[in-house]
Symmetry: C2
């Protein structure tokens, strides 16, 4: 009875989905496995490009993100500078913390998303991530050292490979009891799938 | 109180949305303006590529199309050969027929979509389109001649330009009372928007 949630901190749609994941888990009595990944290597393999930097598409997408946030009852979406960004440090910090305490890692992910899209503050660098983690009493020196180790770098690479093998072609991506769903617009379908066992 | 529905006959997601457009119009007492366009020139401007021919993405998308069709109560989705295809003839036939009788043009669009994705039969060539139109007692010689005229070619070009100016960045794309929605996954949000006047 698993729900795997793949996301990139650089995606505002992943942020929208992330803010709903606890609800979905609660409504349906499921555990959600949070899996931060980097969309870059996924896009290289799937042949897609970034979208928010395309002029016409970017205008539509930002409007859609703002509208979906209102629909979800979230505060106005802000964008960190730089945007988009490579969420290497955030992903590595997540997996480092998860090995110690999975719940704390999820809490860090949620706080990072809120920092970026709720407050519009950067979460790109190790220092940015450490600042957010400090509010959870995570030692920043320990975190900054950990995310530079070969072991944690290899771990993130392995997670991106696993996501590709699982069929992840974009973010947010949810595999709900084996069934893949791509996009923040799929949350209602995911709920229905978990409710009914599929259709 | 307008609902503009932009689509490319080559998109199975546009087919899924098309099969729901009459329901949306009926539930909300709206007239839907059907606007077939060609995604090719839109993608050139917005920088997106085709997606169904990308290996990993294609697998996911076909699964998602099949699943959404089941959710919408539609028959199993088939794909015409060739797929994807350039729907030039279908678009031109639509605008030619619309000038005579708008309701017949919508009916032709629905029949073409069912021919392609319900029956898996080609609708790429003028002859393919004429065969479907014949079932509505449209003269095929007249249709085949009409879609080769400079006037109808210019008309289609003008419609694609108008779509770009309206902010259309992909298909299916619906502008519901000025509010843009992209994707077959947006139909529930469109219904809600028309119901409530927005959020």
């Amino acid at each position: 009875m698993s729900v795997d949630f793949y996301f990139d901190f650089s995606s505002p749609y992943a942020y929208l989905a992330a803010m709903k994941m606890d609800d979905i888990a609660m409504w349906h009595g499921r555990e959600v496995t949070w899996r931060p990944i980097l969309l870059g290597p996924i896009m290289e393999r799937t042949g897609a490009g970034t979208v928010f930097d395309k002029p016409l598409k970017g205008i539509y997408l930002k409007r859609d993100v703002a509208r979906t946030a209102r629909l979800f009852g979230l505060p106005e979406v802000r964008y960190p500078e730089p945007f988009p960004f490579a969420a290497l440090a955030a992903c590595r910090a997540f997996y480092w913390l998860e090995a110690k305490d999975p719940n704390m890692a999820v809490s860090l992910a949620q706080r990072l998303f809120r920092e970026a899209y709720g407050e519009g503050r950067p979460i790109a660098s190790g220092e940015d991530v450490a600042k957010v983690a400090e509010r959870m009493y995570v030692d920043s020196h320990e975190l900054l050292a950990a995310i530079e180790t070969p072991a944690i770098k290899a771990r993130l690479k392995a997670e991106v490979d696993k996501a590709l093998q699982a069929g992840v072609v974009g973010v947010p991506f949810v595999i709900a009891e084996g069934e893949p769903f791509w996009g923040a617009d799929k949350l209602e379908q995911i709920s229905r799938w978990l409710d009914t066992g599929g259709w």
